[in-house]
């Protein structure tokens, strides 16, 4: 049994940087989504957030992820997981007033549907951008010995 435990620990240790990368990129993406949807509630507040700004940020995040793990499995995982994690984190920021004891939270299910509808185009744009950038970065950053 001992060797199996060690094996699992070793595997987890190997996966830890990838998990950390997904969490960090997901949280960054979640904040970017929230900023784009409700810029006037954010710090720093703004009246508008340009679409090219969102796409540029997605490209940078895609390049970072592609540089760190330039293979097809990670490319697909990035394109699917990051928009999902971003949406979850964005929803958490959106629901943060419900944690305040003074504000009575009503209609969470309705808010969830509203936010999901708002996030849908962002998830599609993110998937397409991350997939494209991931595909490009596979060729840009692929190791020489492969």
């Amino acid at each position: 049994m001992k060797w199996r435990e060690l094996d699992v620990q070793e595997e987890l240790r190997k996966l830890l940087p990838q998990i950390a990368m997904y969490l960090m990129l997901g949280i960054i993406l979640g904040f970017v989504f929230f900023y784009d949807i409700m810029p006037y509630f954010c710090v720093p507040a703004a009246s508008d957030f340009p679409v090219w700004g969102l796409v540029s940020l997605l490209c940078v995040l895609g390049l970072v992820a592609g540089y760190l793990y330039p293979d097809i499995i990670h490319m697909l995982l990035n394109a699917i997981m990051l928009p999902l994690l971003g949406a979850v984190f964005c929803f958490l920021i959106y629901m943060s007033p419900a944690l305040s004891p003074d504000v009575v939270a009503t209609g969470i299910a309705e808010e969830f549907i509203n936010m999901a509808l708002l996030l849908m185009p962002y998830m599609v744009i993110s998937f397409l951008t991350l997939f494209t950038v991931g595909f490009i970065s596979m060729y840009l950053f692929e190791p020489d010995d492969v």
């Binding site: 990368m21 960090m24 990129l25 949280i27 960054i28 979640g30 904040f31 970017v32 929230f34 900023y35 949807i37 409700m38 810029p39 006037y40 509630f41 954010c42 710090v43 507040a45 703004a46 009246s47 508008d48 970072v64 540089y67 760190l68 984190f89 920021i93 959106y94 943060s96 007033p97 944690l99 305040s100 003074d102 504000v103 009575v104 708002l118």
Partner: protein, 233 residues
């Protein structure tokens, strides 16, 4: 033989340069920390705005002083209205529009004593019985210049006076006189309704889905319909 400048150009064997991979991890970590801090601040800001939207309210109190002539007939009504804006949030609130409507209960019409009215009475059903109210005051106050800003976590009272007499609104005053004289002991029952539009201060101009996120609408009292119209300053 080497000079000082030659020696400085030779790389130190112990000096380690960060690998490109480490640099990318560092960039990612910095972006993550900045995003996390901004997320926490944004969530706090958003919560405060939500609190301001949910908890700010306006309480209206009014008191009417009826002036009588030498015959004991009413010749003027001086209505003093106190609008108290209660702001329990940590955001400043800007008052924009306060609309006040005031009615007097029309018992002569209810009992069939006097059915001639210059304006249509508003009706209100209370416990299955219909009560009639005659519109006396209808006024809107806007506060564009000077602006009235309620500081965070505080209350502010705005007092306004409206005077109704035989000179400024003779028709309304004459109806009021009839109601007053035909009501037992002149004990009038007043009804008021306030509609207010406030703004959360320092939110950038809104657009798209949440266009009215910074706007707060509050209502106090009972709105009687139709029963519209009335005296204003």
């Amino acid at each position: 033989m080497t000079t000082d400048s030659d020696a400085s150009s030779i790389p130190h064997p112990e000096k380690k340069r960060p690998k490109p991979r480490q640099i990318v991890w560092m960039i990612l970590a910095v972006m993550f920390i900045i995003s996390l801090v901004l997320s926490v601040l944004s969530a706090g800001n958003y919560t405060e705005i939500a609190k301001a939207s949910a908890l700010t309210h306006v309480v209206t109190t009014d008191s009417a002083v009826i002036g009588l002539d030498e015959n004991g007939n009413p010749e003027s009504v001086n209505m003093t209205i106190d609008f108290t804006v209660v702001n329990p949030s940590q955001r400043e609130i800007r008052v924009w529009i306060l609309t006040y409507k005031g009615w007097v209960r029309d018992i002569p019409l209810e009992t069939g004593l006097d059915k001639t009215r210059w304006r249509i009475d508003g009706s209100l059903e209370v416990n299955g019985t219909e009560q009639m109210y005659y519109p006396i005051f209808a006024v809107s106050f806007s506060f564009d210049n000077p602006k009235i800003i309620i500081p965070a976590d505080s209350n502010f009272t705005i007092t306004r006076n409206i005077v109704l007499n035989r000179t400024n609104y003779p028709d309304i005053m004459s109806e009021f006189e009839k109601i007053y004289n035909q009501t037992a002991d002149g004990e009038l029952e007043w009804l008021q309704y306030t509609s207010s539009i406030l703004f959360i201060n320092d939110i950038p101009e809104l657009s798209d889905y949440y266009r009215e996120a910074g706007m707060i609408r509050r209502f106090d009292g009972v709105d009687v319909t139709p029963g519209v119209g009335g005296a204003s300053p």
